[in-house]
Symmetry: D2
Subunit: 339 residues, 4 copies
């Protein structure tokens, strides 16, 4: 940490801060500048909120952290890219772009199975579908719960596609883990630490969505919660942040991809369906996500978007999805990947 | 809902949308404008995501909701302001401004009891203190858990102050409810629907903090989750939203107070400690909060902020808190309230 | 500046950065930390973008500025609060709260004079009114230009109230200065540096509005442009920033007031009309602004808001304005000010 | 426009609003809903702020605009994509991707000519370079002004590359137009309406950058200012918006590309240099921009970024730029374009 003293701080005041730094177990190092005195506090500052509290001392102007606060998620600690095998055929984070597709919510057996066959045919490697739905309104469709999980298992059996589905309550981790190949933690739960800790003890990979309000640093700290509980298989998913712009449902922050690529070894997936909120914009943003360096996509597909119980406006019809997959190939190859 | 057709939509296309509206159980009403045809879908739209899905029909430009989606939280449904009695002496939402104060985290018996006595003496009506701490870093102090709850109960016994404390896991609601007078749900859990539902079944009032990226409408929908489970005692707390400005930790959105006053009957509390993140700015924003019409304040007070295990920079020393309380009186009276 | 080296930087690489620092005229000071080496660059960094460019050197992780980049606007350079006399009766930044009120746009002589009399009677000290209107749409009312300025001068003559009006083009500064007592620079022009420079050469005080996306630091840098051209009379105006919240037109950032009070000596005005965008919310936010420590208010008042050519929704009727002024007195006194 | 009445509005109150609508020249159309009465105001609402002012009538809840407020910029008014010829060899908005590259600021003849040769060799079609620099600090390098323009003209003569350069003051439009092939209006001036009007009278194409705080709708309204003055050659440039994320300088909003493609016929350029602020992230975001459907790129290239007087951190070295151009080809082809 760097402690910046207020202008005009006396030697005695600087000394007091140094004493405090020593008392907290760090080594102070003073630099006398032209306009300000600054003090470096030498030592591993990560996870130590107490150093930040020095800001309340009378002659301290501000405290500036130097280190990124994550360790296990950091590309400094682990330099080779993490790859995660799902079932026997799919690897996330490898050469091949992985596309996960399916309906927002599991609504019925017929709906799910038909969609599963269609996305498989178009080239999807993993089936998505929500059984526990986090909905803004208590009066909206909340999902089929375990009945939905069973339908997902059935769809996997029929199509051979591994399945990904969301878990919203720490105490549902066990049941979701029983049926799913990948646990999804949604944007609204990215700092639900009780849930992250439970997912960190699960035996299945976790796809963690960035929250609407989550900085990249906080996002990696959320991943660190899962990693530090012993689960090394975390997949990061950019799905749009909240900004002032209302032409799209969220603002898909594709620049997060090269930033994350620089800072972490974990694989990165893009969700252009939630990112844009409108089916018209999904395909171009899917291409852009792969061009920016993502390892895969998460796409909402619905047979009849105009009747979807949730997220209809952003769902692709199966034929539009197939068309997108056809065009995606050239972008994957331009990015030196395969589809 | 209003369905706006794309420019140039034919009569047949308009009819198709009307048919769909009928099929979904609403009554269509067409207005032929100069540049656009719009269709009103008459009926109660609240909680019906499916109407929004009409946006995917080929000639629909957009779907505009007309009603606010909350019911029980709405000032249309219940016009008189809600008041909530805490213990036998405190009423939230009445004529008297209620100040809740105490440390961010319960760190030790001595720290808590000393602070409790001090905030009581200065005029606080309720003691705050965290036993379960949601922390951005898994390596940071996570709170004393049930041991912390017991210390809070002890402090209540000694001082007579009711206590408020946070709950972060749905399955801790029972234990927190056993010790606390008010359950707090934090900003990061404002859309943790599993937790909201459990809190909706609790027998204690719930203070719900607005999330960093929660619109006022979503905030009221989160309150609606609690209300719709049967718990009528919800206290709303504005604690700052996330913006581009970094001079303060968050941007305290005081205009949310008159907006909420217009739209809901629930009491409104302001937290200037988290809202600003710096102790220097806490007192002016506390005054401003009361001037804007809030029913009370939530303030972090620590004996030695420079040694606090969390939120040190934004904690007031007890003597600064006492000074603030002294000045607050005139602002409360200017707002036609009492302290 | 602090230069943070990437993890694993060698001594030679550190030396290269030090050499570059010397070459740019600064003195390097190396601190060898546990996880990182950091280098302090000693010297006055303000306005020197070139130091930031060191970030492109291969082993540099980031460059962290230490000093605030403004000088003349800083409370370090000038500690006593600036007060600005307007005409012979009004002082901005003194003990007395100054209220500036009037219509958004000057629409006609009758409208302006009637409103001027009414706001004067209610206690306003300065008359506002726009002659040059910056409008989002080229098809919207653009103001009466010099004819509007003449009406303002007439209203001053009749009522004795000094007038404030906006200037939008650098080459109109001369004509506006001829008629107005205070030049206003609007939110959209806060970084129109050509305009700021011209205003810095004017002989009249300048009220500078914070932009919708301007940080407090950038806001003070914009003031610095005016100050550094020789005009010491700059009044800062908080009028709301743009956030994700749509219940209000902007988000009035009242915490900017205590932050600015800490960092600058310049007087601070609040505009709750633009800040909220709805007349219902103007009065509570005006009270809150004064409670937070502002030196005055800028309020839109229109005889018939429902017929206003601009900003109708946020304009108070004269009788509502008078009512607000009556309540404001107690808040001013609670803040140890006068009205 | 749709006028939504407050709950419980009487027939008489609805009638009063209808009368007002008629008085303003529109035709009212009432829909009696279950929970609300709404009134459609039929007529062309664009540019008519006065209709919005109905919001101040006592029983009106809100006024909802239906039409997009732009006309000339709209893809409804002109359906075929606009193409703009620059010099005799370059067309913006055609099949070929156009790359504009060069230094942020023109610093010296040698620097500019050397860079111009290098970017030409790598495949750039247009040379960029700033002579008038809008800088946050009045103490920072402000550009070489007309001397810089002359150097740009010289570079064009030597290399054959058309040049683009920024204009910041309405009264410099004439001189900039004399030397430049394209006038650039920067992000901070996107709502500098005096400048937009002057650029609308220029005989050269205008590249208009989206502001940090500008919605897509406001961005198109800014373009409308230029178009409505008679200049049809407007090029839109997405360069990042301001959000809470600080890992990048701005958040490059690539989803603006498909949204703009849907709503306007004007060509779209992406600036990943300002969008990310770090040279490491420029190439992936350039690829992503083309994949999302942009017509070209604007890229900062500097011989010695570590010595750049402005924007060093985000400038590519010429060899990095050449490498990027090599990879870009495949992405252009995947997007069915040429480079």
């Amino acid at each position: 940490m760097i402690i910046v003293m207020r202008s005009g701080a006396t030697e005695k005041e600087v000394q007091e801060v140094c004493d405090k730094i020593v008392q907290l177990g760090y080594k102070p190092h003073v630099i006398q500048g032209v306009e300000r005195t600054i003090i470096g506090a030498i030592g591993d500052e990560r996870g130590k909120g107490v150093l930040q509290s020095l800001e309340t001392l009378p002659h301290v102007e501000k405290v500036v952290p130097i280190l990124q606060p994550y360790k296990l998620a950091s590309s400094e600690v682990k330099q080779e890219k993490t790859t995660i095998a799902i079932g026997k055929d799919v690897v996330i984070g490898g050469k091949k772009i992985v596309v996960m597709a399916g309906p927002c919510g599991v609504e019925s057996e017929e709906q799910l199975l038909e969609t599963a066959e269609q996305v498989k045919k178009a080239g999807a490697a993993i089936l998505r579908g929500g059984a526990f739905k986090p909905r803004t309104s208590p009066y909206a469709f909340q999902g089929l719960a375990e009945a939905g999980l069973k339908l997902l298992a059935k769809a996997r059996e029929k199509t051979g596609l591994p399945v990904i589905t969301e878990v919203v309550d720490p105490h549902d981790v066990a049941v979701v883990e029983k049926y799913a190949d990948i646990l999804q933690i949604g944007a609204r739960n990215v700092q639900n630490f009780a849930l992250l800790k439970k997912a960190g003890k699960a035996k299945k990979p976790v796809l963690l969505k960035r929250g609407m309000m989550t900085t990249i640093q906080e996002f990696l700290m959320a991943a660190e919660y899962i990693l530090s509980e012993g689960n090394p298989d975390v997949i990061l998913c950019e799905r749009g942040i909240r900004t002032f712009e209302t032409a799209t449902r969220n603002t898909l922050d594709l620049s997060a991809i090269p930033v994350l690529r620089d800072k972490t070894h974990l694989p990165i997936i893009v969700d252009p369906s939630h990112g844009t909120g409108h089916w018209r914009y999904v395909a171009p943003m899917a291409y852009a996500g792969i061009a920016a360096g993502a390892d895969g996509l998460l796409i909402e597909v619905h047979r009849k978007p105009e009747e979807a119980l949730s997220d209809g406006p952003q769902s692709l019809k199966p034929e539009k999805f197939a068309e997108m997959m056809k065009h995606l190939k050239a972008f994957a190859e331009a990015a030196d990947r395969k589809l």
